[in-house]
Each structure stands twice: as structure tokens, then as C-alpha cells.
Symmetry: C2
Subunit: 483 residues, 2 copies
């Protein structure tokens, strides 16, 4: 543990065991609280309900609240709050919508959460350049409503209606990434508050640049540990002239995945290629009142000119047939498509209802696509053997899938068994040349896996960067890398 004096004198965190969450943080310094209260008035809160709301995300971890929350309205307010926190060595956690999945926003060292959700202004739409600049609290659905009249859209869609600051921070992706890339490819520039409370800019509105170190990409995926993102400049895309969606059922997960591999290898520019296993479809059918066939399914979407979409669809239909795909069904109207994708997006909540009161442990590995079938099948076999309820969805065009366990919170043994299976899944992904997380991030949960994946040398380099940019370790401490 480097450099952390005063407030952060708690021991270094290891695995996120109960003791991590049970640890009491010191009270906030009085003059820190007074100064914030003076500046932010009612937008500063130490109320239990507010703190608890900011002490949880969509992970299965126990609520771990900060000691205080401030709602910032401007980048200057964020900068002032961080500068003050630096002065008092108080941990700072940036908070968007709380939809992260690996414990990113949990205040395991206590401190101050800066909620940026009210920083929800569209700063500039530059339609002719296909760029937009937004405050960090703008959500992706809000953004798409705002740019629709310009004939444009922002494709990155992690499912949740996350804030764009948060999507940058976790390097989010989701259903459209197979065609449009992830946040890594779609952020042109950022405004960031540094650990000392200074505001810097990274990147420009130019589409490409060779000017110096890629600070933009360094902050994308840094999970609030290197700076607080306050403004984001993104690429936009022309709304496709034609869109069509299709579902296709397969005799096995392997057949669906092999179809996907062939689609990618042929270079078909498919926009979405989602796998749902029979369990996921059962949940979706029940939750969304649909009657999809309860077998492994690909849910696909094609973007392009009318002729181009037609051509892609024909190519894919031929490939699917070769792999035993049946019941190819088209959703050509916007209403039909919307119903299908809404169902897909609600798969998470649908699954929760399959075992009322359950907690969910969701895995998130990504492998080279040729190893995907092997990777999913081994994980499914292990889940079946363990007898734990589970379901699978996958952004399979990218080699990324999620296997989620539905766990009884009153049976701690289930969590232990699921975590052990999740570990095997991650270690398998790493062995197959893949990554421990395709899109959910490291957070609290995967710090050891990061070391397995990247090696001690690379993680030591990450630690050097963390300490160079945040020498007091006040920015979301205890996440990504241990310092």
C-alpha cells in the first residue's frame, strides 16, 4: 500500500470477502463536510437512504455505502469536490446510474460519492461531422432521443440505460459492438477531473490523431480510478436506411455458435448477433409474454441499404441452414423489432423472476471466436453438473458470452459453488487466448483474474500509472489494481 496516509489507512484489500464490506470507514473530517455542505447545500447528503442507494450496483455484493453523496451539476463542481477530497485524503467515487456489475461503485473504503446523473446536458451535436459532446450523466437512451432528428444514432448498447460517463469508465459494449465496436472505438475525446481536481481535455473532434499518448483510451476502462469523467465526445452514425431483424432456432448451442463463426469469417457486416439459450428464452417468454421456441436461438439484426440488408440476410439464412438452423423468422416492422429487442434487454430481469428472490452471479468472458463453442459448452456442462439454475446470453459475434447463475441468498453454499464455477470459466477463457471480462470490467471482483490474464509485469505497470496519476490513491480505491 503506497502513499495512503490519514483517511485511507485501512489494510490493502485482497479478495472481496465479507471483511471487505464489513470494514468500518473513518468518519469524514468535519471541515470537509462543512465545506461541501456550504457549497452544495441540499445537493450534499449524508442521509442513509441516499448513501445506501449509492452503495450498490447490479452485482451480488452487499450494499456498501459511502459516508456522503454530492450531486454535481457542473464540471467545476466535480473539480472542486475532488480537490477538497484530495486535501483531506478522502476517497472519491464517481456514480452515474449504478448499473455496473462488478462492484465498481461500492464504497469499500468509505468516502464521498460524486453523483453526476444531473450533469445531463447535450453540449453540442455536430451532425455534419457525425460527433456529439455530452456531459457525463447523459444516458444512452437520452442521447439517442436527442440525435434522432438529425438522422443519427449512437450504437453502443450495453442493455442498461447507463450514463455515457459510466459506459466510458467500464469500456462498455453490448449488442451492436460486433459491427460498431465498443466504447474503445467510439469515444473521440473526454474532459476529465484529475486526482488533484484539475480539469484536462483528451482527444479532439478529429476522427484520428497521432498526437501523443492516447489518454482517451487510458481513461476509457479505468473505472473511476484515474480521474472522474465529466464530458464525453462520441462518434455518431447515420441511421441505417434499412434495418431488419431475424430469429433462428438451432439444435444446439454449438450449431448457433458455428453459424456465428461462419458469418464473421465471411465478413457479413451483421449489426447484432445475439445468442440466447433455452433457459434464457423460457424467462423471456414468461416475462415478455412471447412464444419463442425454447431452444438455442440467434437474434440478429442487419443494417444497410434495402438491397444490402437483403443480401446480408440471404447470406446468413444460407449459413444458418447449413448448420441446422430452423424456424428462421423475420421481424420487419419497427414494432416487431422493438418487441424482440426489448425482450432481449429484459432477459436479465426475466431471469431474476425465474427464481423469485434470487441473487444473480453473472460471468463475462470473451475468447477468440474459434474457441467460443468450446468455451460456452464446457461452462454449460459444468453448470448442469452443479445443478444450479443458470441461463446464457452472448454477444457471440464478438466471442463474448454471459452465463448467469440464479442463487438462493439464504444458501451461502450456492454462492461459493457458483463462484468456483465462474473461476473455472474465467481461467478457461484466459487459457484459450481470451479475457476475464469482455465488457463488465474488473471492479472489485476480478482483480486477481486481471493478474492471471495480464501477468504481474503488466499489472505492475498499471499500478505505476495509477500511482503516477493518483498518488494519494483517493480515486475509487481498491478497484482494478491493488496499490
Amino acid at each position: 500500500m503506497h502513499a495512503v496516509a490519514g483517511f485511507l489507512e485501512s489494510p490493502a484489500m485482497n479478495a472481496p470477502t465479507e471483511s471487505v464490506f464489513a470494514r468500518g470507514a473513518q468518519a469524514l473530517p468535519d471541515d470537509f463536510v462543512q465545506t461541501l455542505r456550504g457549497r452544495f447545500g441540499e445537493r450534499f447528503s449524508t442521509a442513509t437512504a441516499v448513501r445506501e442507494q449509492h452503495g450498490r450496483d447490479e452485482s451480488s455484493y452487499p450494499t456498501t455505502p459511502p459516508q456522503a453523496v454530492v450531486y454535481a451539476l457542473t464540471e467545476d463542481e466535480v473539480a472542486a469536490a475532488v480537490a477538497l477530497a484530495a486535501q483531506h485524503r478522502v476517497p472519491v467515487i464517481a456514480y452515474g446510474t449504478g448499473s455496473s456489475l462488478e462492484g465498481h461503485v461500492l464504497a469499500i473504503h468509505g468516502g464521498l460519492t460524486i453523483d453526476v446523473s444531473r450533469m445531463d446536458r447535450i453540449v453540442a451535436i455536430n451532425a455534419e461531422d457525425l460527433t456529439v459532446t455530452v456531459q457525463a450523466g447523459v444516458t444512452r437512451e437520452q442521447l439517442n432521443r436527442e440525435v434522432k432528428d438529425s438522422g443519427l444514432f449512437f450504437p453502443i448498447d450495453p442493455g442498461a440505460n447507463a450514463s455515457l460517463g459510466g459506459m466510458c469508465a467500464t469500456r462498455a459494449s453490448g449488442t451492436n459492438a460486433v459491427r460498431y465496436g465498443t466504447m474503445r472505438e467510439n469515444v473521440l475525446g473526454l474532459k476529465v477531473v484529475t486526482a488533484s481536481g484539475e480539469i484536462i481535455r483528451t482527444g479532439t473532434r478529429a476522427k484520428k490523431s497521432s498526437a501523443g499518448y492516447d489518454l482517451t483510451r487510458l481513461f476509457v476502462g479505468s473505472e473511476g480510478t484515474l480521474g472522474v469523467i465529466v464530458e464525453v465526445t462520441l462518434k455518431l452514425y447515420p441511421l441505417p436506411e434499412a434495418v431488419s431483424a431475424a430469429t433462428c432456432s438451432f439444435p444446439s448451442i454449438a450449431a448457433a455458435v458455428d453459424t456465428t463463426i461462419a458469418i464473421i469469417q465471411m465478413g457479413v457486416p451483421i449489426a447484432r448477433c445475439e445468442l440466447l439459450d433455452a433457459n434464457a428464452i423460457r424467462g423471456v417468454n414468461k416475462h415478455s409474454n412471447l412464444s419463442l421456441r425454447e431452444a438455442p436461438m440467434l437474434l440478429m439484426e442487419f443494417h444497410g441499404s434495402p438491397a444490402g440488408v437483403q443480401e446480408q440476410a440471404e447470406a446468413v439464412q444460407a449459413i444458418a441452414s447449413e448448420h441446422g438452423g430452423t424456424a428462421f423468422e423475420w421481424a420487419s416492422t419497427p414494432e416487431d423489432r422493438s418487441r424482440l429487442w426489448k425482450a432481449r434487454h429484459q432477459a436479465y430481469f426475466a431471469a431474476l423472476q425465474m427464481r423469485p428472490g434470487c441473487r444473480m452471479l453473472t460471468s463475462d468472458t470473451c475468447v477468440p471466436i474459434s474457441r467460443l463453442a468450446e468455451s460456452i459448452n464446457a461452462s454449460v456442462d459444468e453448470a448442469e453438473a452443479a445443478g444450479l439454475p443458470y441461463w446464457v446470453v452472448g454477444h457471440v459475434g464478438d466471442g463474448n458470452f454471459h452465463l448467469a447463475y440464479l442463487l438462493d441468498p439464504n444458501d451461502p453454499g450456492e454462492m461459493v459453488r457458483a463462484e468456483a464455477l465462474s473461476q473455472r470459466m474465467v481461467e478457461r477463457a484466459i487459457r484459450l487466448g481470451g479475457t476475464c471480462t469482455g465488457e463488465h470490467g474488473i471492479g472489485l471482483h476480478k482483480m486477481d483474474y486481471l493478474v492471471q490474464e495480464a501477468g504481474e509485469g503488466a499489472v505492475a505497470m498499471m499500478r505505476s500509472i495509477k500511482l503516477a496519476l493518483d498518488p494519494l490513491n483517493i480515486l475509487n480505491p481498491g478497484k482494478v489494481v491493488r496499490v
Copy 2:
């Protein structure tokens, strides 16, 4: 100047004035030389011809040789050489093919150049995953020859037959970037020798990941100042089923650029969209024995299915006509296409011949595409007013263009005037929301512009990262950021 003791006790560099190049570096320590000679034998050289060959690039700077050159064959050899250099605090410069344009490889502080051009092994082609792993010295043309039989290609094409390690280091792009992105988007992972001589890995073969800080993107564009890239894992693409190329002449540069803007805004997935001005075409015609119309021209390429290519071409032809484009000509055979693109790639050498014995100063700005016509026209007007010979080419689909001056090396006044014009061009690009370099990098030449573009705060952060990763400042010192 931080931390640099012993060998590197020269003063901090400011602008690359004559004194920068004239400065004598200290002799290499005897036991450093003896150890390298013992390990590398004839692959270690202090011969003047070898040193001078490694002391220049394609910039207009005077040759500035290192004191010694070593030809590495393996990553372990690179690691050993860097570890030894760290021990003796000797500067280390990585060298691929010497095709950089901003003085990147010049040994302004003396030291050891590690030539990786003999590290030219294809490590693994994973055709089914569309990935390839190569040693850093493999060139892009070699790579494309090796993967062609797999039905794949690597699109990034900066013109020069650069090494892939060097292309990573400068975040190269070129003609295909409008569709396929730059090295930023196409590097999956790296092996890098750190400043202490350790070998680390970044990234995996998975297409996406949210695992920790994006070290891959940090090294891409770091110009040898943070580590020596020894191995590169890249994305490949299926060879397009159909390719066609076309040229179209325009009454003005603005008309050609407006055509480009409309193409991009309509979302046509054009693969290449290159502007040549009349001066560039004159050079190309003479050099390549062609008879292209000597007027502003777009040279375009379309990739896709036969029907898709046809559709793109029709859309583009209609847009071009609306903007006064005439003499639309197709190059449908591979031979015709090859001749056109060869001519484009030789534009640089063709231009050199337009003023025998000249030196070239090439600018490289990139702006949001809506500001491109304004940006080029102002620069052309200034060049005309100055009466200096010049030519223009542009990767205009990305908002990136090069204006190059042909300068009399015996008239130092010409260089001064050209540099002043180049400065106006860069400052204009920054003012228009763009960048001081689209693809050539910072090198020696643009360190002050980087500060103008990114601001003191962001450059200070880059400096912190540099010093965290290279505390002795031995890795290509005096480039990108001053420490």
C-alpha cells in the same frame, strides 16, 4: 529534466534547432560496448555507415546518428540490450524501416539504436479468428503476402512499406483508415520490452475486453518512448469479394472535399477516398507515366459484394455529379487498380523529382470533416501567396490531409518560410477542433504543437506517465514530451 544522471546529462531540448543536432553525445561506456559486442558479435556495429543509416528518417532533419547499432533477432535480445542500457543509462532507440516523418528515430541524445528489422517472423496466423501475431520487424507488405492464401488481408496502409512495430509506435493509418480504422483500432495486443528490460504482454486475442487499463492503446502511438514493441497481434479482414476503384476530377478542391463529406454523411462504406491536387497529379503523371487529368481528383476504392460495390459506386457517382465531378473513370481490373494505387503511393517520390535535389517538409493535420475544405483551401492560398512549390494529398474521408513543400536545401530561408506556414496550418487545425497530426506523430517536430493542442494539464499527465514507465528517461529521449 528529471532523473537523468550520467550519460544523459545534456540540457533539455527545446525546438529542434541546429544545436539539437550538432550536440555531441558522450562516448558509450566501454563495458557497455564490450558486453554488447560479446553478445551480438557482428550484429553490433559502430561503423559510420551503419550509424548514419540509422540516424535519419524521411523527415527533412539532418542525419543524427546513434553511437552504436545492434540488430536484434529475438525479444530476449531486445530485453537484454535495454536492460544493459538501463544499467548504463544509455538512450535506446527502436528502429524498424526508418520511414517515419517527424524525426522519430534521430539520436539527438546519442545512444544505442536497436534495429528490429530482422525480427521478421510471422508468429501465428489464426485465420479462423481473423488475427495474426508477428514480430515487430515484419513489414505490412510481407504480412499481406503471408496471409493472402488464407483469404485475408491487413488493411492499414501508410504508403511506405513500414514495419508493423513502427506502425504501432506512430499510430499509423493511411488510405484505408476511412473504412477500417487506424492502428489504434486494429492492434489487439502487444509484447513490449519495458525500460528496465522486462518483457510484458498487453491485450489478448479476444476482440474486446474490459480488463484493466488499456496498455495496448497506451503503447500504440508512444513512439518508442514508453517501451520497445517486439511483437504485435493484429486484426485481419476477409479479402473483399469484389473491389473496384474509380477516379473523378473536380473543378476545385472544395468540390472534391464537399463530395467526400456527402459520401461520409450518407454512410457509404467507402474503403479509400484520396484527394490529389493538380500539382500532385502532375508529379504522378510524370513519375508513373500516366495521363490523369491535371485537376483536383478523388481516387476511390470500394470493397464488398459485387452488388454492394455496385451500389456504393452508383451512390458516389451521383454525389460527385452533384458537385461538378466529371470524367468518372473505373479501374475494374486488378492491373488497372494496382497501377493507380502504385501511382498514389509514389506521389511522395514523384513530387521529389519535380524539384530535383529538393528537401520536403510535409504537414499532417486532421480536422472534423465539415472543416476540411476550409482547412485545405486556406493552406493552399497561403502556399500560393508564398510562392513555394507545394502539392497536396489527403485521406479526406478522415479529414486528414498533407501539404508538402519542395524546398531548396541551399536556401535556408525557404525552410524558415515553409515552417512558418506549417505552423499556421497546424494552429488553424487546432482552432477548428482538430489535431496537429493525423498520422505522422509528434517526434521531434511537434512537441510544442502537442502542448497547444492538448493543453499543459494533459501534457503534464503524459509526462507523469513517461516518468512512471521510464524513470531514467532512456527510451527515445527528447521525443513526444519533454521531461
